[in-house]
């Protein structure tokens, strides 16, 4: 691991001041679950780490009846918050599925949302892939069984965050602070496709910090996340889905359907949302929406099986939100 300087930031301002505009040179350190692994593998080689563990780690009600989650809140804290669970099961279900208990005890909400991709070509230093400034995406004609089934490249990662997907489904807003002040970004606008941003995955500038996730009041929405993973212990989802359904009786008035682990960003499906809207919530309606969700998938050479898994995840997330049996 390359030697680095270490700054303990007392507050947002100090933290932002200690970051800088050059990508990768100055990095915020919260739980370190992702960053330390990147550094040990020489994928990240920062000159300075800025400790932001001291920033807001509270989950608080907002005046409008929503929830404001500090970026330094741990995943365990979020998963075990009774209030969050009651209001946004899609979010707490996702938090509870991350990694292992040890990772959830240390890993933070901000860290989960901003973690780097798990693509094995990105993570192994021998492969100078596009994201590392190289000229090739090795996944295209290589080992792409876990890669994207949506998106046109040129990089084919799947977004690694479990919380990003329900954040988009719940229409969350992210509070971002930078050298010139703060801004609020819709979760749906926060993540960026590789054709717009190859060297990062979000709109966050190198000297900006994500400080809060703000969830709007849940109203009568029913929300759920359903994750398909192979192993029960410490594994990444093969595909998952978060849904938020606004209901009137048992009829869907509006829906947000977002898939995870299928594209370089949380992948929202307007077609699935349209298929649900105005329908009674039944297994058939869920199935129709799930079929619509994977329409237009463009699997790579080895991952067409993920289309079926994504379809199942969407169907079951809808059924879970509706309180129906998922299997």
């Amino acid at each position: 691991m390359k030697s680095f300087a270490y700054v303990n930031a007392a507050g947002e301002k100090e933290a932002v001041a200690a970051l800088g505009p050059e990508r990768g040179r100055f990095l915020p350190l919260a739980g370190g679950m992702d960053l330390l692994a990147l550094m040990k593998d020489y994928i990240a080689q920062p000159d300075r780490l800025v400790n932001v563990k001291g920033l807001d780690r509270a989950i608080a009600r907002t005046p409008d009846g929503g929830l404001r989650i500090g970026a330094a809140v741990t995943l365990t804290q979020l998963a075990e918050s009774a209030e969050a669970r009651r209001m946004y099961p899609a979010m707490t279900d996702a938090a509870a599925e991350v990694g292992t208990p040890q990772i959830r005890n240390v890993g933070t909400v901000g860290g989960n949302i901003n973690q780097r991709p798990r693509c094995w070509y990105f993570r192994n230093e021998e492969f100078p892939c596009l994201k590392k400034g190289g000229s090739t995406c090795y996944a295209v004609d290589g080992e792409n069984q876990y890669h994207a089934i949506f998106g046109d490249g040129p990089c084919h990662i799947v977004h690694p965050s479990s919380l990003a997907v329900p954040s988009v489904a719940l229409n969350a807003k992210f509070r971002v602070v930078g050298p010139t002040g703060e801004r609020v970004v819709d979760a749906g606008e926060y993540f960026q496709m590789p054709d717009r941003n190859l060297f990062g995955e979000t709109v966050l500038a190198p000297n900006e910090l994500l400080t809060h996730v703000m969830l709007p009041p849940p109203g009568a929405a029913r929300t759920a996340t359903y994750e398909v993973r192979f192993k029960q212990s410490h594994d990444w989802p093969l595909a998952f889905a978060s849904v938020a359904l606004s209901m009137s009786g048992d009829t869907v008035r509006g829906a947000r359907v977002v898939m995870g682990a299928v594209a370089p960003i949380p992948w929202r499906s307007p077609a699935a949302e349209a298929a649900l809207t105005g329908k009674r919530l039944t297994e058939e309606a869920a199935m129709t929406a799930a079929d619509a969700a994977v329409q237009g998938a463009k699997p790579m050479t080895l991952n067409s099986y993920k289309v079926q898994i994504a379809r199942t995840a969407v169907k079951r997330a809808i059924m879970k939100a509706a309180g129906l049996k998922t299997v």
Binding site: W120, E125, E126, F127, D141, F230, K231, Y305, I309
Partner: protein, 761 residues
Amino acid sequence: MARRRKKLEAGSWKLEAGTQQQPPPAAQAAPPPAPQGPPRNWPPVADRTLIGKSIKRLDGPDKAQGKAKYTYDIIRPGMLYGRLLGSPHAHARIKGIDLSAAEKLAGVKAVLALKDPAGEGANGKAFYQGDEIAAVAATTEEIAEDAVRLIKVEYEPLQALATAAQAMSADAPAVFPKGNVSQQSLQQEGDVEAALKSAAHIVEGTYSTQVQTHTSLETHGGICEWEGEKLTAWVSTQAVHGARDGIAGSLKIPQTNVRVITDYMGGGFGSKLGFDYQVVVCARLAKLANAPVKLMLNRKEEHLVTGNRPSAYAKVRAGVDAKGKLVAFDAETWGTGGAGAGAAFRVPYPIYVFPSRRQRHRDAYTNAGPQRAFRAPGHPQASFITEVVLDELADKLRLDPLELRMRNVLSATDPSQEDPSRQWRKYFPMGAEKIGWSKRHPTGDPASGPIKRGMGCAGNTWGGAGSRATRANCQILPDGSVLARIGTQDIGTGTRTLVAIVAAETMGLPLTGVKAEIGDTNYPFAPGSGGSVTVASVSATMRIACENARDELFAKVAPALGVEPSALAAKDGRIQVKDAPSKGMTWREACKLLGVQPISADGAFGPGLSSTGTSGVQFADVEVDIETGVTRVKRIVCVQDCGTIMDKLTAESQVYGGIIMGLGFALYENRILDRNTARMVNPNMEWYLLPGMSDIPEIDITLVDQPDRGPVGLGEPPVISTAAAVANAVANAIGVRVRKLPLSPDAILQALNEERTGGTL
């Protein structure tokens, strides 16, 4: 230079060894003549106070509390940290190595080039990713890690072979000096073509298993410390004596100048049987730096260079007659064990009788780390292929697959004799009863909904005889303490506890009355802990050493009691007259008679105290979600023998471990090489999937004790059948045959899709 060449030769030697990996159960190699001596026996079953009981391992509390120091934990005064630079290319010519920048880094104390750009063959080339190019020793691990990255190596990347198929293709580049593919070997019995013509049903298919890495929790490596010309090496090894000889040979120093110590060891599974190149590099760094050096591999290197279970492919035609008797098995097989290493396995699996059989096999060489012995080499692959074929034949016959096994499994050659190493006809019904086989539905769960349930089974065999070369020493000290010393090593199986059990049982003492010392080349020779030879070798030999020591004590005590030594027994902490137990003295009183002269008695392995040959069966009960392809194993039932059970707890522990490892092979583990560069994409525990606690099902073990046989090894048998049983259970659940491992969601969904679009059954 010579050393590098030797390294490749070692690979080709492994190839030959590989072809002998799977002896037929009855055909053990003729042993050298055994040392002569009085006939030896274990105490009568009723008199055993420790053997066969559930005894907790003696070092369990120390391990749980972190007091037991593994090689990885050892820190010596002034110790440096070594790191290796491995080739990032799977195949490359080394054009130049510039160490200067690394040498200049503050904290770096020694730097070594391990390849020679001017060298011939393997000396000037890298044949797989991770192939060692250079090494560094520095004051911290981090500096050493930074330093290897400062070494400038000029590579000329060459075309690499990532898969057996690439190696075997007609337009493959010539990568290996003797060709990319071995000569075809032929094993045959009877006339398969004629037998297949006579068959009522034939199954044809191609079956395959993946490359599995050992993934020992403690990685390979050691700590080397010189004192003048004498080297002490703490090594994570399965063979302290083998490691000593290998290190001495490589460094060209007398074996007497090398001492190898392995107090505690974090898993090897066959990968730590050979001496390790990195320990030799470590010793050279220590010499150069004039300080102790620790060099342990990281997880990535562990996956890349410390061996693996080769892949296996089999194109099979097998036939059965209308009465359910197997008639023929014909297989064209291949596989890859990496760079210059073999990929042997024998089909059909030898516990089933196919009167006519043929196997034509070729090894394909690829640019990947060479294979090493891996828990039951060849067996899990052969078991999977054979047992899946059996279930397919049973389906064609519309016969219960259990019944097909009962009709065709090996039994005693002479029907009037019972062969204790061939008990499958007994164990299959026992396992069936436990798993609830009577509730098994025919292939394809008729239940509605996406979750399908199924059952499957498979059998196994192994040798596990003791080694005639084993020696042991037992000392009885005047204060009554007992020292049992043997140069074996506890690779996590409980060998230290076993040694104490044998010594205490023989002396009639409690476990606390004896001290077991192992894991040191200063102790008498014992073989490497591989091939399941340890329990038989160590128990029998330590029994003899302890009896010899005890008999010397009897000779001292007998005059005091006015009887012949042969009239004495050691029991319940006393030396007493067999026929008049009240006549005697306590163990301590007896030992006081030694004055100042302890007893030290040696033992050499002898016959009569151990045996060879095991049989076992496993059953699996699984659930498959056909909408996701995800399989969950609900339950594994195992019926297994291992001769005389020495310690029920550690024996069960072996079986748990074997089954969990078998489960990894069945479902999860897969070394994935990038097909274009032959670099491993998952050299970690993130994408190299291993079963975690929540993935481990209920495991129901029935150990069948054979108290009169003496112990037989149990290391390999429990890993053999798990994947086959799980694969058969999956097919029983989903109604579609998956002919390759691992049974990933991808493989299951693909098989289900093929069924929908034309069918594989």
